[in-house]
């Protein structure tokens, strides 16, 4: 699109966009580090992640101030208005994702005491890597106003949900086997749920990017795969038959 006649308006929009992209980069790095800390039981790196969240919060504050200024001073219309509003909302989502990464890092020590489930950290790592990729692609979609990429991210959240489902079942089985596993399993489940929530936020971000570019809110329902809210496994049941206990929450 062409430049504004008032060039300082372009400068303002560039600034607010670059703030959000900086936030996005930090959030992605926080998630990478939180995952590394978890997998390697690196409590020093975990602490660094917990501390690092403040920078993201600060940037969100700057985005808030800047967008309100742009709205008040420039009174934007059409694409410009959607850019400002979307950017504000993206910042809010990124801040939430940052909080989840911080929470993940906080649980690192608790997980080390539950080393019996080291296999499950592999699943957490896979979930995290999926989400990291989604963050990167979402920021790319935002920078290039790429509708196709945003749509791709929007549909990828299902993969994260599937991993959560299988981990949820696995953890329930461990807990049923021996109540001493409960504490560790619960921490792992909370972390998994945190990562799954990050995926939800990113999906929302992708939808907002679609709105930014198209000017219309996507009408079709996105696929949802998180079924843990309705999953019940009774002790002694055959794990293979779990599907019989899913309620179809899509209907």
């Amino acid at each position: 699109m062409n430049d504004h006649i008032v060039s300082s308006f372009d400068d303002d929009l560039d600034k607010v966009e670059s703030l959000v992209l900086e936030m996005g980069g930090l959030v992605e790095q926080q998630l990478v580090n939180a995952t590394l800390a978890l997998v390697n039981q690196d409590s020093k790196l975990a602490k660094q992640v917990v501390k690092g969240d403040a920078r993201i919060d600060k940037l969100e504050g700057e985005v808030n101030v800047m967008t309100v200024q742009v709205l008040a001073i420039r009174q934007p219309f059409a694409d410009d208005l959607r850019t400002v509003i979307t950017t504000l909302k993206l910042a809010s989502h990124l801040e939430s994702i940052g909080n989840y990464a911080k929470n993940m890092a906080r649980r690192t020590r608790a997980i080390s005491k539950a080393s019996a489930f080291s296999g499950s950290t592999g699943t957490l790592k896979r979930m995290s890597e999926l989400v990291q990729q989604m963050v990167r692609e979402t920021l790319d979609a935002y920078t290039h106003r790429d509708v196709e990429l945003a749509e791709l991210v929007r549909n990828r959240d299902e993969d994260v949900d599937q991993l959560l489902n299988s981990l949820f079942r696995e953890m329930l089985t461990y807990m049923m086997e021996d109540p001493r596993h409960i504490s560790g399993c619960m921490h792992i489940l909370f972390i998994a749920k945190n990562i799954e929530r990050m995926g939800d936020h990113i999906t929302d971000m992708a939808e907002e990017i679609l709105f930014l570019v198209n000017g219309k809110w996507p009408k079709d329902k996105r696929p949802k795969g998180d079924r843990t809210s309705t999953l019940i496994i009774e002790p002694g049941e055959d794990d293979e038959d779990d599907d019989a206990h899913f309620e179809d929450d899509e209907s």
């Binding site: 699109m1 308006f9 059409a78 694409d79 208005l81 000017g215």
Partner: protein, 262 residues
């Protein structure tokens, strides 16, 4: 089963413009414009200077008649009749389709006589009492009566700019028009006086249909239900104001409303 339409859903056009071209000598100022003016709505005409919006506005009550080099083709219908038909009485037409100009232009007469001028010409009052009532009602509808009730004999030119503009609106209203054309009515007013006029226009549209030319896009967005964007004599895009300012279809409209180099 089809839902019956609510009364408010029914769209009624008070004026229709079809394939209108306007030439000032060799200058083709308005190019093949077709536009509907909806009843009880405010239609905003926007666009850069020289885009033809004011020229078109002036076509709606034949204000261009006295400009010798001006030639108009096409059709402008009001109440089912082509206003350029040779049988149309232009004075009567301008009573039905009134006009308010950019600069408040009260007559050098009293506030009372400014408003009473039209009704006297058109013999709308049979006696003094009726004329008093018309003046009072018109001033009330223009939101000015409370401010001038005790000084109706004072000159209209002594009022503030915003008050003068409302006096001109009262003067237009006094002859019971159906359509009011406004050519940048707030461009000479401060923001408070502008807000008063905008609030007044919102009330006025219950009884009148309004067409406004404005250079303030914010004003068009605030007050109108329909917006038409003109560029170099062409009507580029028209539609619901909420659509034009959020999701314009044409790149030229988008560039204009977002302040970009087109």
């Amino acid at each position: 089963m089809k839902k019956p339409k609510k009364k408010s859903d029914v769209v009624e056009n008070v004026m229709t413009v079809r394939n209108v071209d306007v030439f000032y000598g060799s200058n083709h100022a308005v190019k093949d414009v077709s536009l509907d003016i909806r009843k009880n709505q405010i239609t905003a005409l926007i666009g850069p200077s020289g885009c033809g919006k004011s020229t078109l506005l002036r076509c709606l009550n034949r204000m261009n008649d006295n400009i010798e080099i001006c030639k108009i083709t096409g059709e402008v219908k009001y109440d089912g009749q082509d206003i350029y038909d040779k049988n149309v009485d232009v004075v009567a037409l301008r009573a039905r389709i009134g006009m308010v100009f950019q600069k408040p232009n009260p007559f050098p007469k009293s506030i009372y006589d400014n408003v009473a001028y039209g009704p006297r010409i058109h013999r709308l009052a049979e006696n003094k009492q009726q004329l008093d009532d018309i003046v009072e009602n018109s001033l009330k509808k223009a939101g000015l009566f409370a401010e001038v009730a005790d000084r109706l004999a004072d000159p209209g030119t002594g009022l503030s700019g915003g008050q003068q503009q409302r006096l001109c609106i009262a003067r237009a209203i006094a002859v019971e028009p159906e359509v009011i054309l406004m050519d940048e009515p707030c461009s000479a007013l401060d923001p408070i006086a502008t807000a008063v006029i905008e609030e007044l226009m919102e009330d006025m549209r219950l009884n009148y249909s309004i067409v406004i030319v404005t250079h303030s896009m914010q004003q068009a967005a605030r007050i109108s239900q329909r917006t038409a964007f003109f560029h170099m004599g062409e009507l580029v895009e028209q539609g619901a104001t909420s659509k034009i300012f959020t999701l314009p279809k044409d790149e030229r409209t988008k560039s204009y409303i977002t302040g970009r180099i087109g």
